[in-house]
Amino acid sequence: MTLSYAHHPALRGPMEPARFNSEVFDCEVIGTIPPGLNGTFIRVGAE
C-alpha cells in the first residue's frame, strides 16, 4: 500500500518496517542449535 513511513520518528533505523511477508527455509545459524531444542518462538510486531 502506498503508505509513507519515511518521516515517522519512531519508525526509523532498527524500527524501519520491512513491509513484506517472507519464508526463510533453513536459516543461517551463528553457532550451533542445541540438539535437543525442538519448538517454535512466535512473535508479533507492528510494521
Binding site: 503508505l3 513511513y5 519512531a10 518462538f41 512473535r43 508479533v44
Partner: protein, 341 residues
C-alpha cells in the same frame, strides 16, 4: 500514517522461528485484518489517527481499524494475535494465514480483548478482559474467565472510575488487579479528530481489586497519585495483603499521546522504574504503599515467567538501561523500550 501519530497504529505482522533437529525455519506474514485488506485493495492508507474512526476515509465507515500488532499467544491449541481494541485474530501456527476474529465460540461477548490476558500457571485458566467494552470511550471493563478448553466460565461487568487505557492487569492467587491512570479519551476528543489517547495529570490514578472468584460488585478501587502502570510483572497475596510489582512512570510515558491541557511532554515523568505496591484489601481508604526497587534502572515491558502467573514468583524480566553502564546498556535495550523510557 500521520507523522505525529502513534507507532501503535502500524499493521501487525506475525512471525515464527521453528527450531528442530539443529535447524531453524522462519516465516513472517501480516495479520490480515479488515483494515489491512481494505488498505491493500485501495493501495493507500484509508484509516486516520490511532483508534479514531472519525478520521477514517468514508469508504471504510464501519470497518474495524484494529491492527492486531501487540501480542500473540497460544491457548487451547489456537494461536491468537492480540490488540486491545478488538477481538483476537486466529492465525494458523504453521502457515501464519489469518483465520479471522475469535470470540471463544460466542462465549466472549465484549467487543475488545486485552493484549495481555493472564493464564494461571498451575490451572491453565485464562483471565481476560476488554475495556471500552460498551463502545468507544466507554468506561466499561468486562472480565472473563476461560477454562483451558476455551469455554467461557464467567463474565463480570465493571464500571471504571473513568475511561482510560487499561493495557495490562495482574493476577495473584485470589485477586485481579486493574490499573486505571490518566491516559484518557472521550467522544468529544474523538469527534475533534484527535489521536485516541491524551494524558490528564489532574485526575487520580486507581487500582481496582476484584476477587478472582467473586462478583463484580465486590470491586474495590484504591486511589493514588498520578502515575502510569502500562505493564505489570505479577502479584501475590497473603492474609488479605496484596503485593504487586510493575514498571511504572510518574507521568505520561508516551510522547505521541499529548497532554490534554497542552502541557509539554516531560521526559523525566516518563522515566519508568520497577516498583512494588502493597494493598490491604480490608482498608482501601488507606491507599497503597509504594517502593521503587531499583531506582537507577529505567525499563519497560515487564513480565515474569508465565509458569508462575497467579502464584508466588521470584524473578521478573524487562528491557532496561542503567546510566553507569551506558555502552553495555545500549546493547541490551531493545529499540521498543527506547520509545518508552
Amino acid at each position: 500514517m500521520f507523522a505525529d501519530d502513534s507507532p501503535f497504529a502500524a499493521d501487525g505482522i506475525a512471525s515464527t522461528f521453528r527450531i528442530a533437529d539443529g535447524s531453524c525455519d522462519f516465516t513472517a506474514r501480516f495479520v490480515e485484518t479488515p483494515r489491512y485488506l481494505a488498505n491493500r485493495q485501495a493501495r493507500r492508507q484509508l484509516f486516520g489517527y490511532y483508534r479514531n474512526p472519525f478520521t477514517d476515509d468514508p469508504s471504510v465507515a464501519g470497518v474495524s481499524g484494529t491492527v492486531s500488532n501487540t501480542n500473540i499467544i497460544m491457548f487451547n491449541g489456537k494461536m491468537l494475535a492480540l490488540k486491545e481494541d478488538a477481538l483476537p485474530y486466529e492465525v494458523d501456527p504453521a502457515t501464519l494465514q489469518t483465520g479471522g476474529s475469535y470470540d471463544f465460540g460466542g462465549g466472549y461477548k465484549a467487543p475488545t480483548f486485552t493484549a495481555h490476558p493472564k493464564i494461571d500457571g498451575r490451572t491453565g485458566e485464562m483471565i481476560a478482559f476488554g475495556y471500552e467494552a460498551e463502545g468507544l470511550a466507554s468506561n466499561a471493563i468486562w472480565i472473563y474467565t476461560i477454562d483451558p478448553g476455551g469455554m467461557v466460565t464467567s463474565e463480570r461487568k465493571l464500571a471504571a472510575p473513568y475511561m482510560s487505557m487499561v493495557h495490562d492487569i495482574a493476577i495473584s492467587q485470589n485477586y485481579i488487579l486493574i490499573p486505571v491512570y490518566g491516559m484518557v479519551s472521550s467522544m468529544e476528543r474523538l469527534h475533534q479528530g484527535k489521536v485516541h489517547w491524551g494524558w490528564d495529570d489532574r485526575i487520580p490514578s486507581y487500582i481496582g481489586i476484584v476477587p478472582r472468584n467473586g462478583d463484580a460488585s465486590e470491586v474495590v478501587w484504591i486511589a493514588g497519585p498520578e502515575m502510569a502502570m502500562v505493564h505489570t510483572f505479577s502479584a501475590t497475596d497473603e492474609g488479605g495483603v496484596i503485593t504487586l510489582h510493575a514498571a511504572v512512570s510518574d507521568s505520561n510515558p508516551f510522547p505521541f499521546f499529548p497532554d490534554v491541557n497542552g502541557k509539554p511532554f516531560n521526559p523525566a515523568g516518563a522515566r519508568t522504574t520497577i516498583r512494588k505496591y502493597t494493598f490491604d484489601v480490608a482498608r482501601p481508604q488507606a491507599g497503597w504503599q509504594e517502593e521503587t526497587l531499583f531506582p537507577e534502572w529505567a525499563g519497560a515491558l515487564s513480565r515474569i515467567d508465565d509458569r508462575y502467573l497467579g502464584h508466588p514468583y521470584r524473578y521478573g524480566f524487562l528491557t532496561a538501561a542503567h546510566p553507569h553502564e551506558a555502552m553495555a546498556g545500549q546493547r541490551r535495550i531493545s529499540p521498543m523500550s527506547s520509545w518508552w523510557t
